[in-house]
């Protein structure tokens, strides 16, 4: 038993660091650069299109029509501009629901714990970045069914996040009625 305890003590006292036998950083750096470049190329393409769209929107005369659109810009949630939905044929009722959900989202986010709020916003941005990536890919290959399925997935996940936020706030409100 003493030997076993001695062995456990020796294990616990092992050095916390062992130098790698070679420098692993160049391999890591290369992987990071590849990732950065991939993302960067897509982002640049997406931002060029988004900027063009913005200029287009700014040059257009303001419309009195209140028909549903996707121009609502909440303070925390990244907006979804028209360019990003160009490959997704939403019907008007969906856009209306979507717009309402986004409009409510800021208030709902304010009711969440701070850390969770940051997580939600960060993940909405991730989804939006993915939507931009997929739209770019579809631009180059419009007939690609898999890419369109991935685009649907991205929108589904975005709505799932929004629904989760709404549900948590609703649940909390129901329980707080006892206060």
């Amino acid at each position: 038993m003493d030997e076993t305890n001695d062995m456990m003590a020796r294990a616990a006292a092992l050095p916390s660091e062992i130098a790698p036998p070679r420098d692993l950083w160049p391999g890591i750096e290369s992987a990071l650069e590849t990732q950065k470049n991939d993302r960067w190329q897509w982002r640049v393409a997406a931002s060029v299109i988004a900027t063009s769209a913005l200029i287009g929107i700014l040059l257009l005369p303001p419309k009195e029509d209140k028909s549903p659109g996707l121009a609502y810009i909440p303070t925390q949630v990244p907006t979804l501009d028209a360019q990003l939905v160009r490959h997704m044929p939403f019907d008007d009722s969906y856009i209306l629901d979507y717009r309402e959900a986004l409009a409510a989202l800021d208030d709902q986010l304010a009711a969440l714990p701070e850390g969770t709020r940051e997580v939600v916003v960060a993940n909405l941005k991730i989804v939006r970045a993915s939507i931009a990536d997929i739209n770019q890919a579809i631009d180059n290959d419009p007939g690609n069914v898999q890419l369109r399925q991935l685009l649907q997935l991205a929108y589904r996940q975005e709505m799932a996040i929004i629904s989760m936020v709404r549900d948590s706030v609703t649940n909390a409100e129901q329980i707080r009625t006892s206060i």
Binding site: E3, T4, M7, M8, R10, A11, A12, L14, P15, S16, E17, I18, A19, P20, P21, R22, L24, W25, G27, I28, E29, A31, L32, E33, Q35, K36, G115, E118, V119, A122
Partner: protein, 190 residues
């Protein structure tokens, strides 16, 4: 199998001055800042990976993968725990995922009997507990490394490894017995 381990004595890790700032810069895409973090923590991560995999090449790969994954996830690092602990968890998960993914291939290396693990050492050589740990079967080794070396509780280790707490305890018991047997043999006692 003789593992080459050049241990860093004591705490020789170069502290990252202004670590929070360095992490923030890395999270924004500054690879120079991230290299500082790599230089500071690669020894710890590699030590963990080497002990978990018992294989130098696998440990190098896992160390690289851990830093690559950590880079991707830096945006979600909120500072609730120390950066080293956060990185440690990522590295453990990388190793366990790799092991699950290529179970057969890795098992060939890790299920090597203890005697073989010590081959290359002369009889007179004082047994290195690192070598003995490396000779344990994979699951027993993982539990022993997490609980015995890194101080996880059984609950934490079980959760990390996706096994029941009872299974974790059984693996540790087995590991301790096997290590005790190995050390006994090496000391010439029985």
């Amino acid at each position: 199998m003789l593992l080459t381990m050049s241990a860093t004595q004591g705490n020789q890790r170069q502290p990252v001055t202004g670590e929070t700032d360095t992490i923030a810069r890395a999270a924004k895409g500054d690879t120079r800042a991230y290299e500082q973090l790599y230089r500071a923590y690669s020894g710890r991560v590699y030590a963990l990976c080497l002990r978990m995999t018992a294989n130098q090449q696998a440990a190098e790969d896992a160390t690289q993968d851990a830093f690559i994954q950590a880079w991707r996830k830096l945006g979600s690092f909120r500072g609730d725990s120390a950066f080293s602990s956060w990185l440690h968890r990522i590295a453990v998960n990388v190793v366990l995922s790799d092991m699950r993914r290529s179970k057969r291939e890795i098992a060939g290396l890790s299920e090597m009997p203890a005697a073989e693990a010590e081959s290359g050492d002369s009889d007179a050589h004082l047994p290195d507990i690192e070598q003995a740990i490396a000779g344990l079967p994979a699951r027993a080794r993982h539990v022993f490394v997490l609980v015995g070396v890194y101080g996880y509780t059984h609950e934490q280790a079980a959760k990390t490894m996706d096994i029941a707490v009872g299974t974790c305890k059984a693996h540790l018991h087995r590991a301790r017995q096997m290590l005790a047997d190995q050390l006994d043999e090496s000391y010439g006692r029985n």
